[in-house]
């Protein structure tokens, strides 16, 4: 196989404030062969996206690039902007994370695909349209002839990503760069997209540079893998070798922190990814590494390893087999089950408001016939694809939306309450949202955010508030000094901890966790899930955990309810549900959950 893309000693530095340029990526070397899929893996801040953007020369102004980027034997770093424009789209196709943002909402998909084709290939409008039709069929859009003149908003998320892929394939590029193309999609859809890219690369003998933070989507389809940490390559080689025997401690930790079906405890990676300004001199992972030796911090280690993958580590892990976890023992049902929360005959229907000349229209109900109950201290998982109504269920329990039916907390029906008593009762159920940044007011200091529930409860006095806020920050594993910062000054994982601290400050009995970890990196996700588990034991909290990620739910939940099209299709204890799903939909969801083999030491 010939190499499509070769990157030699690529280093990139970007301007950062007044301090001048800061190195983001150091001495990256990698090769993508024709027909091969290389997964470039790393957490956010590792430099993986910068590497991909360097290939397209789409870096922000002021970026300094050294090294060579050869595309089919031509060094892209020497091309001028005109020549580079011809490379983009014709020789290299690109697929982004958010297809809706990359597609023009006011033009039909046919015109956008034809444009991509005609800009580079010329030819008649008729030929371009025929090409668009052919491409839509190829990426698996059902009935493509009918969909040609549809607009992007008429496609679902997964279908839009297919359109995006069709567009990037318009000129049969030699290389496809896919930057997190499945992030934000349901696991079932994500899997289909991965399979599609895998098929297309074989059929077109096309190299694929697949950028992702999610190891679980990589294993099934990638041929090669390249792991970045803090701007440096830490491990690279064939994917099968990597998943069988990761050699670098970081890779091992990364694999260990992916939530999987039937796992007891996720591995934490202590500490945080270093900022580009403060990267340690030696091995960059050394400060967080469990196997650290004194000489690790002296100089950057040379790549080691003759068999399997190569790892930039002085003390790579041995090539021995690991002990795998035993399947989780089936948990016995909770004894003396007294329901804390009861949901009976719940139905939610969204209506569009009536206009002057138009009656209120009714859509099919978002939720119907929902009945469930939750015991004290229990964690109930709600899984389903987006659109299944799982977030709606959470919002109904939280009393954020109008509903029909009954929701009882400790036997008291919310429907019978109004005004202040209702506010008091609502307060006993708290919420943690998916996007931690959205859930914190960007203009309020963190200390005041956490103090909000205390103030609302009538606690005043500077010293008393500070004492309580410090204690809450400590409970979620944060430094009290953080209280003086604004939300923009903390990481996503820290922001989510702050949201949890705020919820805890209201002394709730039940917390609705609406996709609490899906916007976080895997290692951060692991820490957060463990924190939630500890807090539940400590404070006797119950959780309703809403997620599309079966693995996360099965790690946390005692029982799981599977939601499809607004109805509960199956509900059972976690162990039983996984061992013997009764419904096809459940089985499909479990099948789409990350199937990585389990590792432990």
């Amino acid at each position: 196989m010939s190499a499509v893309l070769q990157i030699y000693n690529l280093s990139v530095s970007l301007p950062r404030g007044r301090a001048g340029n800061v190195a983001i990526l150091d001495e990256l070397n990698l090769t993508v062969a024709a027909g091969e899929m290389l997964a470039l893996v790393g957490e956010s801040g590792s430099g993986k996206t910068i590497a991909a953007l360097s290939v397209m020369r789409l870096l922000p102004p002021g970026a300094e690039v050294t090294g060579q980027i050869n595309l089919a034997g031509r060094d892209l770093t020497t091309l001028d902007e005109r020549a580079m424009r011809r490379v983009r789209g014709r020789d290299v196709g690109m697929v982004f994370q958010n297809p809706l943002a990359a597609l023009n909402p006011s033009r039909t998909v046919a015109s956008q695909i034809s444009e991509a084709y005609r800009v580079h290939q010329g030819g008649s409008a008729r030929a371009a349209r025929a090409r668009a039709l052919e491409l839509l069929g190829e990426v698996g859009i059902p009935d493509p002839a009918k969909r040609l003149d549809d607009y992007p908003h008429q496609f679902s998320g997964g279908m839009r990503q297919r359109v995006m892929i069709a567009m990037s394939l318009a000129c049969s590029p030699k290389l496809l760069i896919a930057d997190e193309p499945t992030t934000g999609l349901d696991p079932l859809i994500a899997r289909q997209i991965m399979a599609l890219i895998a098929r297309l690369r074989r059929e077109h003998e096309m190299g694929v540079l697949f950028v992702t933070h999610d190891l679980s989507v990589v294993e099934e389809h990638a041929d090669a893998i390249h792991v970045l940490y803090a701007g440096r390559s830490v491990e690279w080689g064939r994917a099968v070798d990597f998943f069988a025997h990761p050699r670098h401690p970081y890779s091992e930790a990364l694999l260990g922190s992916v939530a999987r079906v039937g796992q007891q405890r996720l591995q934490n990676i202590p500490g945080n990814l270093p900022e580009p300004e403060s990267r340690p001199p030696g091995c960059r992972f050394a400060p967080r590494c469990a196997y650290r030796q004194p000489d690790c911090e002296a100089a950057y280690p040379p790549p080691l390893g003759r068999a399997g993958t190569r790892a930039a580590c002085l003390y790579p892990l041995p090539l021995t087999d690991r002990i795998s976890y035993a399947q989780e023992a089936e948990k016995p049902p909770a004894s003396n089950f007294t329901p804390q929360l009861e949901v009976k005959d719940l139905m939610v229907r969204y209506t569009s408001a009536a206009g002057l000349f138009r009656p209120a229209s009714t859509l099919p109900p978002a939720l119907s016939d929902i009945a469930l109950s939750l015991g004290r201290g229990e964690c109930l998982g709600i899984v389903g694809e987006s659109g299944s109504g799982k977030s709606t269920l959470g919002r109904a329990v939280l009393q954020m939306i109008p509903y029909q039916g009954h929701i009882l907390l400790d036997g008291e029906d919310f429907a019978a309450l109004r005004g202040k008593p209702k506010r008091q009762q609502r307060k006993r159920i708290q919420v943690v949202f998916q996007d931690p940044r959205e859930s914190l007011n960007p203009r309020i200091k963190i200390g005041d955010i956490i103090a909000e529930p205390l103030r609302l409860a009538g606690i005043s006095g500077r010293a008393e508030l500070k004492r309580r806020v410090d204690a809450l920050l400590g409970r979620v594993g944060l430094n009290p000094e953080m209280a003086a910062r604004l939300p923009s000054g903390v990481s996503g994982g820290q922001a989510q901890r702050i949201a949890i601290a705020r919820a805890l400050a209201a002394e709730p009995e039940l917390i609705v966790l609406d996709e609490p970890t899906s916007s976080l990196d895997v290692s951060t996700q692991a820490m957060l899930l463990n924190l939630l588990k500890d807090l539940a034991l400590e404070a006797g909290l119950s959780y309703i955990l809403i997620s599309h990620d079966f693995a996360v739910v099965s790690y946390m939940a005692d029982r799981i309810a599977v939601l499809n099209a607004g109805r509960i299709v199956e509900m059972n204890h976690t162990g039983r549900l996984i061992a013997a799903p009764q419904h096809n939909y459940t089985a499909a969801l479990i099948g789409a959950a990350p199937q990585l083999r389990t590792y432990s030491r």
């Binding site: 408001a353 939280l398 954020m400 506010r423 008091q424 609502r426 307060k427 159920i429 708290q430 919420v431 949202f433 996007d435 959205e438 859930s439 914190l440 007011n441 960007p442 203009r443 309020i444 909000e452 529930p453 609302l456 409860a457 923009s488 949201a499 705020r502 919820a503 209201a506």
Partner: protein, 294 residues
Amino acid sequence: MSERALPGGGLSTGMPSAPLARLFGWLALRGTLATGLAITTAILFIGFVAPFLYPVDPFAIHPDHALEAPSLMFPLGTDELGRDELALMLSGGFATLIVALPSAVLSFVVGVAYGLASGLGPAWLDRVLMRLLDAILALPSLIILIFFASLVTLDNTSLILLLGLIAWPSLARLVRNETIAQRGRDFVLASEQLGATRFYIARVHLIRVMAPVLVVNGTFLVGDSVFAISGLSFLGLGVQPPQVSWGSMLESALDIVALDPWWLILPPGLLIFGSLLAASLTGQGLLARYGGGR
């Protein structure tokens, strides 16, 4: 309000001389706020401090010095009655600002309160308030002003009320739309879940998130207010004689415009223009510096 042209913003292109282009470029990029604040300070100085530093009676008549161009004795010349133009301009500045600033504050408060009530209240209230707003906005504000000004006795208090109760609708609509956009955000929902009332959410969360929008548009209101009182005075419906204001000074200069009394037209005209420019530059500058962090 945001579609207001940015003075100096588009000037850096096509400038023949490089140093000038650089100056305008600097103004547009970094100097907007500084320039705006400098002009604002100068205008406030003229209205509130300078009258004490130049203690000449603006109403003293010197018939033998009528309509004189600027001289050492009369730095800005005299009007047709022989009054000291500089003293008149300072006194007129005080008379203008003493009405314009409180009325801007009043319309700001009314606009924010109306917008919040409309955005946070029940749907029927929102509809009623917004239709009412449409009705008010459908009429040109100057017509409404003239109508009411002809009904009441014009003194400072009535002028403040009149102007203050006229200028708020566009701010109210902006605040209402921002409120609707912000009230569904997760941090507002979280606050509601914690037991917060709507009033608390408005006071603690919405005001702070909207702070940049409010500050910028509040700044614009001040400029609008100076312009409105000057316009009314020009029509004889604003600050009443014997008091003078920048608007009435322009009006009286217009009567004798055939005599080309440039020293009577330029100072008040430039000050009205300067007030609008100051408000616009300050607003744009604040927007550029602090507006992004929402």
